[in-house]
């Protein structure tokens, strides 16, 4: 309850600061969508020259991309750790966070919420609905709870990976460039993993499981039986990676010493 109240207060604050610069708000939404549009245009153009991508049709690939956008939007809204090292460690703002009673990671995430990113999730849903309709996919009752559970599990996977890597900055304050690296790897999850070679498939499934933020869970709705088992594994992977991220974070925070300024 205490945490719910905090969320509300932080969001109110956020709205106040953002509404002062309304134009920026729209510009941000628009340019976020433009980056996504690049990938969509790629899919559209490519399917003018072929009718399948590793055995997946255009509607299926679009559907997968639509799903990919849903957890990604939620993740970018609530888990925004990009400037963590510079802002909280190098400048020492972590001092301020640690003197307060709420959990430190919770405060950091709330200070950096980015609600415009949720627009991406809505567009993703619309893409799923349209490409699903094109394939004659019927909406069934279990689709909605399944989508919620799978999308949240995918968000947990993102969260786990990014908090694990961000907690490295407690050990070294030099920029490692590892976050942008991850960002580029996650792009691999938006296409059927079967088009990659064996090593990359294993990497995307078990080590940096970005196949679980796109293709595997989406396959459940597409009734691709070969990936059903992987799709059902998504919540497990979400829990494993989510708790790993949190554990490593809590462990890393103990090493924080302040910037001394």
């Amino acid at each position: 309850m205490y945490y719910m109240g905090l969320i509300w207060e932080y969001l109110k604050n956020y709205m106040k600061t953002r509404l002062t610069y309304r134009a920026d708000f729209w510009v941000e939404i628009l340019s976020d969508l433009l980056f996504q549009a690049t990938n969509l245009i790629f899919i559209f153009v490519v399917f003018r020259h072929t009718d399948n991508l590793g055995g997946w049709s255009e509607s299926e690939v679009l559907f997968v991309y639509g799903y990919f956008m849903v957890p990604y939007g939620i993740f970018s809204c609530f888990i925004n750790l990009w400037g963590f090292s510079e802002r909280y460690i190098v400048k020492g703002e972590m001092d301020r966070i640690l003197t307060r009673p709420a959990h430190n990671l919770f405060q950091i995430l709330l200070e950096n919420v980015d609600p415009p990113a949720l627009v991406g999730s809505f567009i993703g849903l619309i893409i799923m609905i349209f490409s699903g309709a094109e394939m004659g996919l019927m909406l069934e009752w279990w689709h909605i709870p399944a989508l919620i559970i799978l999308a949240l599990s995918s968000v947990m996977i993102y969260a786990g990976i990014y908090t694990t890597l961000t907690s490295l900055s407690f050990y070294s304050d030099a920029p490692t460039g590892i976050l942008p690296l991850m960002y580029n790897i996650q792009g691999y999850g938006r296409y059927p993993v079967t088009i990659y070679n064996r090593a990359i498939q294993v990497l995307l499934t078990w080590i940096i499981p970005f196949a679980f933020v796109g293709i595997y869970p989406a396959a459940l709705f597409l009734e691709r039986s070969e990936m059903h088992r992987m799709a059902l594994l998504t919540p497990v992977m979400g829990l494993v990676f989510g708790s790993m991220g949190l554990l490593l974070w809590n462990y890393g925070v103990k090493r924080y010493r302040g910037a001394g300024s």
């Binding site: 510009v27 590892i178 942008p180 088009i195």
Partner: protein, 264 residues
Amino acid sequence: MNSAFIDFMRIRFLTMLAYRVNYYSGILIYTLNIGVYYFTWQAIYGSSGELGGFTAAQMTTYIAVSWMARAFYFNNLDREIAADIRDGSIAIQFIRPINYVMVKMMQGLGEGIFRFLLLMIPGMLIAILLFPVELPTAPSAWIGFLVMLFFSFLINSQINVITGLAAFFVENNEGMMRMKRVVVDLFSGLIIPISLYPGWMSAVMKVLPFQAITYLPGSVFTGRVEGTAIWNVLGIQVFWFAVLLLPMVLIWRKARKRLFVQGG
């Protein structure tokens, strides 16, 4: 006078060199991007022999060289200029006896030399090891490509400078800068070679300057444009370089008259 410009280039190069460790992950990022497009195109080609005039092998080479060329020509001149304008430090630049735009271009070149030597060349070597890239055999293709690569850098930097200077006219050009990035990546043929777009789209792209950044040099490197035809595509680049000088100079002249520094 000229030696001052050389110094700007040298200093930027040395600054980048001092922080080189920060950029090494860039090589990996570019390799990853080549990887995702390589596998996707492999799956698309499947059994078909040629798409939009590209064989599967040419496509691999094209993707590798295009992304690695981007590792070289990419810079943030637009952001640097916009930041100078927004925080008002541009005022100091006005009273200096050297041209600000030239300074920025030279700094971009210093960064470019760094990126060429420490990002593009090692990155290309890694790409050759990992993917079946076919290097051109004709010396004219190598020379043509390297000359064109330099023009890619010039044209991309010109576009960046123009976008950056737009901050004089709109308070916040963040959206413009992001939009420019998407447009350059798409319209230059980096994501998809221009000949694969639907007819009307590729027709539009062929009359825009962006194809000169990636598509034309990539075509020379993959051997799709050979011999004397290289002069033609180089001519297109030189043409766009000359044409883009005009808005750059005009905007800079106009901008100086309407500078408005907020606060201090």
